[in-house]
């Protein structure tokens, strides 16, 4: 296979002091230029930062560019050396994904590319094939392990529901005798129902991911509401398990801790430049970005003063985000409290004091409950493979496209999207010919015309 695409992968284990991100392929230079601020000159190490599209810094790092064929893979290649925390690795990965012309490398792919571009001698061909074979075996075994029992049953059920919906539509489209009619609204309802089922399964997958990789919890709020105090208070009480991650304390402060058994990366948005003119808008922008990345947001409101316009703006940016409202400074006179049902601005809420420690236990319980409703025990590893999670999310997106197309009377479009959904689900089950299944289903369930 000729490599005209460009791939990237983290080439070191997460959690070390330094992590190396490798990019290989014809667009490696363009990728580096897009995300890295430093000067790029082949084979010269350069210092700079990796930034988001809006220019805000993700991490300070070094990078080097190798021009083809003088690189490990024989292709254009870039390496970025950044700080080794999981948080940085995750954000760098997301950033590279977001440029639009890169894809994550498969295991062993750099070696395979090296071989294919003639960087290795023939004796190594066998070794490369061993590698691919071993990988396939491993993922097959992993897939089997994962797909045993309930998960397999659940995905198979979703697959066959998508297949039957598609067969019904296909049969209507294929029929040219006007014998078959289509109840489009009913079909649309079924598609939507299926889509929401798949979405909740993907959410379940996220839950497993949180248990395995940790959750990102962002502390967000206007200046001087007590963000850093809360962070410190939480850390103090968990001192024994605090592991400060070096290299991340730049714009944001990140700390690893465990809350009720859930690994959590706590992100404090303290340290943002608070010039009087721009403070509110920058606070909102920052909140928005942190909120987007986070699995859970702790929104802090100062209990001793009424909500400011800035508070309200931040609040607006949190709509649709899993959020816990924290009313701070409970040791002082408060001007507002959580509602009787324990919520504030429709978010579950708690009053805390960083000084007395009041409410901290309740807060941790709220955090745990909201990250993993039902607790850690019930969190069965139904889906943990991120490929499966994204296949499920893809299927759910396709299903909602299909529902929209049906509403618009665009049956060809509905078929297209429904077929996409079916293929996504088939990929989890390792089925290589969903079309054959579809044809079987049409013949089995419908009486074809002329």
């Amino acid at each position: 296979m000729i490599n005209n695409d460009t791939v990237f992968a983290l080439s070191t284990p997460v959690g070390g002091a330094i992590a190396i991100m490798r990019i290989s392929g014809p667009d490696a230079r363009r990728a580096l230029e897009t995300v890295f601020t430093g000067r790029i000159e082949p084979r010269r190490i350069s210092y700079g930062s990796v930034t988001d599209p809006d220019g805000s810094k993700i991490d300070s790092c070094c990078a080097v560019f190798f021009e083809a064929p003088a690189s490990y893979t024989g292709e254009d290649m870039a390496e970025i050396y950044c700080h080794g925390s999981r948080a940085v690795a995750v954000r760098l990965t997301e950033r590279l994904m977001s440029v639009g012309f890169l894809r994550p490398a498969e295991a062993g792919e750099f070696t395979k590319r090296a071989y294919l571009s003639g960087k290795m001698d023939l004796a190594q061909a066998e070794a490369v094939m061993d590698l691919i074979y071993a990988r396939a075996e491993r993922s097959r075994k992993a897939a089997l392990g994962q797909l045993e029992g309930r998960l397999s049953a659940v995905i198979s059920d979703l697959y066959s529901r998508a297949k039957i919906a598609l067969a019904e539509l296909a049969n209507y489209l294929e029929d040219d005798t006007d014998e078959v009619s289509l109840d489009a609204p009913a079909l649309k309802n079924r598609i939507e129902e299926l889509g929401s089922g798949i979405r909740s399964l993907a959410a379940n997958g996220m839950r497993s991911r949180i248990l395995r990789d940790g959750a990102r919890v962002a502390i967000i709020g206007s200046p001087n509401v007590g963000k850093s105090s809360l962070l410190n208070a939480l850390l103090l009480r968990e001192r024994a398990i605090v592991t400060p991650v070096p290299g991340t304390t730049r714009d944001t402060l990140e700390e690893d801790l465990a809350i009720d058994g859930i690994p959590v990366v706590l992100v404090d948005t303290a340290g943002i430049c608070e010039t009087p003119d721009t403070v509110e808008s920058m606070g909102v922008a920052r909140s928005r970005r942190e909120a987007e990345d986070a699995d859970l947001v702790l929104w802090l409101a100062d209990g001793t003063r009424e909500l400011s316009d800035g508070d309200r703006e931040i609040l607006g940016s949190l709509s649709g985000k899993r959020t816990v409202a924290v009313i701070t400074k409970a040791d002082l006179d408060s001007v507002f409290f959580p509602d009787d049902n324990g919520t504030f601005c429709s978010f579950p809420a708690v009053r805390t004091s960083a000084v007395t420690g009041e409410g901290l236990t309740a807060l941790k319980k709220l955090v745990a409950d909201n990250l993993l409703p039902g607790g850690t025990d019930g969190a069965e590893d139904l889906i943990t493979n991120s490929r499966h999670i994204s296949a499920l999310e893809g299927a759910a997106d396709s299903l909602s496209d299909a529902a929209d197309a049906l509403t618009a009377g665009n049956f060809d479009g509905a078929f297209f999207s429904l077929h996409e959904a079916m293929e996504s689900l088939a990929s989890i089950l390792g089925k290589d010919d969903p079309t054959e299944d579809l044809v079987d289903s049409i013949f089995a369930d419908f009486c074809m015309g002329k």
Partner: protein, 628 residues
């Protein structure tokens, strides 16, 4: 060659829908072509329904036409009714279907063969394929003739060792009382082909004057009359109606009570039937909940009173056929002229064939139509022209003409047959085509005609027609590629179509993408060229489906890349240690011609394809190294 009576470039065995296209393609490509047919009165015989086209089948006819084939032109000439189907469902399934005058169709096609100087049309039966040094060298016939040829296209339809069944009665013979071919099967077995047994069936034909049409629902053709061929200039003629009626509980009861007399259910037939065009007895058994099934009464032609009862294919005994027909509304006094029957016949496993329908083992031997396990006139014609072209290219020593799954239904059809194989008579369906929004009947010429230029089948007139169409499309696109100010008239139009109004200025192109806004609508308000219906359709469908089609670009690139990586014919898959055993077996059995084909074989995983790819690369490098 003193041994041979006569010498040809190519021999086509059989002159049904596949054979006629194969012969015409070969002859039009300049090769002397012998066509053998067991009964010249059955050339291009429509042995089953008197219609051509339908969903996906109509697509195939348009593609055959776009490649310079005959079926579309002949069908346009002999149609007695034409309809554009599925107009309410979306352009990907818009399909033409024509009711044909069977006798005229046969005469029209036979005469086309007769008039071609390169074709020798002869009544005889091919009994043996001659192979010399591993390649096709000629054929032998029942009358004792020996003809030399460099390629043979076998289009034997349902005639190989066929047997027909009507109830307890069965007869060793071909369809409709015709003879079957009894010796060619043996020759194929001798050449190493494993033969299989497939089955199909046909409904009774009844006397039109015995029917009460006033109790049925007439179905008329479209006016103006649409046409299959891109070269047909418009058709004006009176059209004949079909009539719709239904089976009912009484019909179903009679069938159920007599199932034990059906040869299929009684076990007299041991062949695989179709699931998509089941006999009425199959429908009753499999879809028990349905209280009625649609039937169409279709004229067999204008010079006969015989009517085809579409939807009532059956092999039940004569008396049961009479009884069930008389339960049907409007058919109470119906008189049968020909009884329905099932027919079983020999066919090969199409995975024996390369993408271009030539044998993987015997160069020069090509197969098309039902012998490959397909069904349908259109599927046959499509394979016929494809096999004819490739046999001719083989004789000329040129590269095969291969259509990808992203280029044509013909590509999907032949890829499915040769890579995946089939366990039942294969029918084309739009849902089998993963790029179905691209493979529409309206753009068959845009997809295929230029690509087919190298075959020599594209006449200058056809090419000019295509160029004109492309110019018109381009002029419409240019005109649409401009912004217009949003005024009241435009917003009034948008509102009347349930579309949201615009402010400032807007691209005409963007407006056309909206549901319910047509080119003609916009032409009413802005200066747009009149480009004619054909070009207009392209521009409008492209506006609506462009986004979907673009989303498949990556997939198409990947398909092209994999299909472009050829696998050498002499490769030993068992020598590739890292392939899984299942993959080794599947690959060895099917012997795919490219990585793309390999990837579509069920049981061959993406990892196997990757291993294979690395192996091929290392082999290549190895060979290069030795050459240095």
């Amino acid at each position: 060659m003193p041994d041979f009576d006569e010498q040809f470039d190519i021999a086509v065995i059989g002159a049904g829908h596949a054979g006629c296209e194969a012969a015409l393609a070969s002859a039009r490509m300049g090769l002397s072509t012998l066509v053998l047919c067991m009964d010249l009165d059955s050339v291009a015989l429509m042995a089953c329904n008197p219609s051509i086209g339908g969903t996906s089948k109509g697509h195939l006819v348009r593609e055959v036409d776009a490649l310079g084939g005959e079926m579309g032109l002949a069908a346009d000439d002999c149609l007695i009714q034409m309809r554009m189907l599925n107009t309410g469902k979306g352009p990907a399934v818009h399909s033409l279907r024509a009711q044909e005058d069977k006798r005229r169709y046969h005469e029209r096609m036979k005469k086309t063969l007769e008039l071609n100087e390169k074709i020798t049309l002869r009544q005889d039966e091919c009994t043996r394929i001659l192979v010399d040094s591993g390649r096709v060298s000629g054929i032998e016939t029942a009358l004792g003739a020996k003809y030399a040829c460099r390629a043979v296209v076998i289009c034997s339809g349902v005639y190989l060792n066929s047997r027909t069944h009507t109830g307890e009665f069965n007869r060793f013979g071909g369809p409709s009382g015709l003879s079957n071919s009894t010796r060619l099967s043996g020759s194929l077995t001798e050449l190493g082909f494993v033969l299989r047994r497939f089955k199909t069936g046909t409904p009774p034909r009844v006397a039109g004057r015995s029917l009460d049409y006033s109790r049925m629902q007439p179905q008329f053709g479209d006016v103006p009359i649409p046409h299959f061929s891109f070269m047909t200039d418009g058709i004006e003629r009176d059209q004949a109606p079909c009539h719709l009626t239904y089976t009912n509980e009484k019909t179903h009861r009679i069938i159920k009570e007599n199932l034990d007399r059906s040869p299929m259910y009684a076990g007299a037939i041991h062949a695989t039937g179709t699931r998509y065009c089941p006999s009425i007895e199959d429908k009753i058994v499999r879809f028990e909940g349905r209280d009625r099934h649609q039937l169409f009464i279709e004229p067999e032609g204008l010079s006969t009173d015989e009517m085809y009862v579409q939807g009532l294919s059956t092999s039940l005994p004569r008396d049961v056929q009479d009884a069930m027909l008389r339960t049907i509304e409007g058919m109470e006094n119906c008189r049968v002229m020909r009884y329905g029957y099932a027919i079983e016949y020999d066919c090969i496993d199409p995975t024996e064939l390369k993408a271009g329908l030539g044998s993987k083992r015997i160069p020069g031997l090509y197969f098309a139509g039902q012998i490959n396990g397909s069904s349908g006139y259109e599927e046959a014609a499509a394979q016929g022209i494809y096999a004819g072209i490739n046999a001719a290219l083989y004789v000329k020593g040129e590269e095969p003409f291969i259509l990808g799954r992203n280029e044509a239904y013909i590509g999907v059809l032949c890829d499915d047959l040769t890579v995946k194989g089939t366990n039942e008579p294969y029918r084309m369906m739009t849902c089998r085509a993963e790029f179905r929004m691209l493979l529409r009947q309206d753009n068959a010429d845009l997809r295929l005609t230029e690509k087919a230029m190298r075959t020599g089948l594209i006449s200058p007139a056809r090419f000019d027609h295509l160029m004109r169409k492309k110019e018109l499309i381009a002029s419409a696109r240019t005109a649409l590629d401009r912004s217009v100010p949003a005024d009241e008239r435009l917003n009034a139009l948008l509102e009347s179509r349930g579309s949201s109004p615009v402010r400032g200025s807007v691209k005409l192109e963007a407006l056309l993408k909206r549901q319910g806004i047509s080119y003609t609508d916009l032409a009413g308000l802005f200066d747009l060229p009149d480009v004619g219906a054909e070009a207009l359709e392209e521009v409008e469908v492209d506006a609506l489906y462009g986004g979907y089609i673009k989303r498949q670009d990556d997939e198409i690139q990947k398909l092209r890349r994999l299909d472009g990586e050829k696998i050498p014919e002499n490769i030993d898959f068992f020598a590739i240690t890292n392939l899984r055993t299942e993959a080794k077996q599947k690959l060895s059995a099917i012997r795919p011609g490219s990585l793309g084909e390999a990837s579509r074989i069920s049981g061959v995983s993406p990892a196997d394809v990757a291993v294979l790819s690395v192996y091929l690369k290392s082999r290549e490098a190895d060979t290069d190294g030795r050459n240095e």
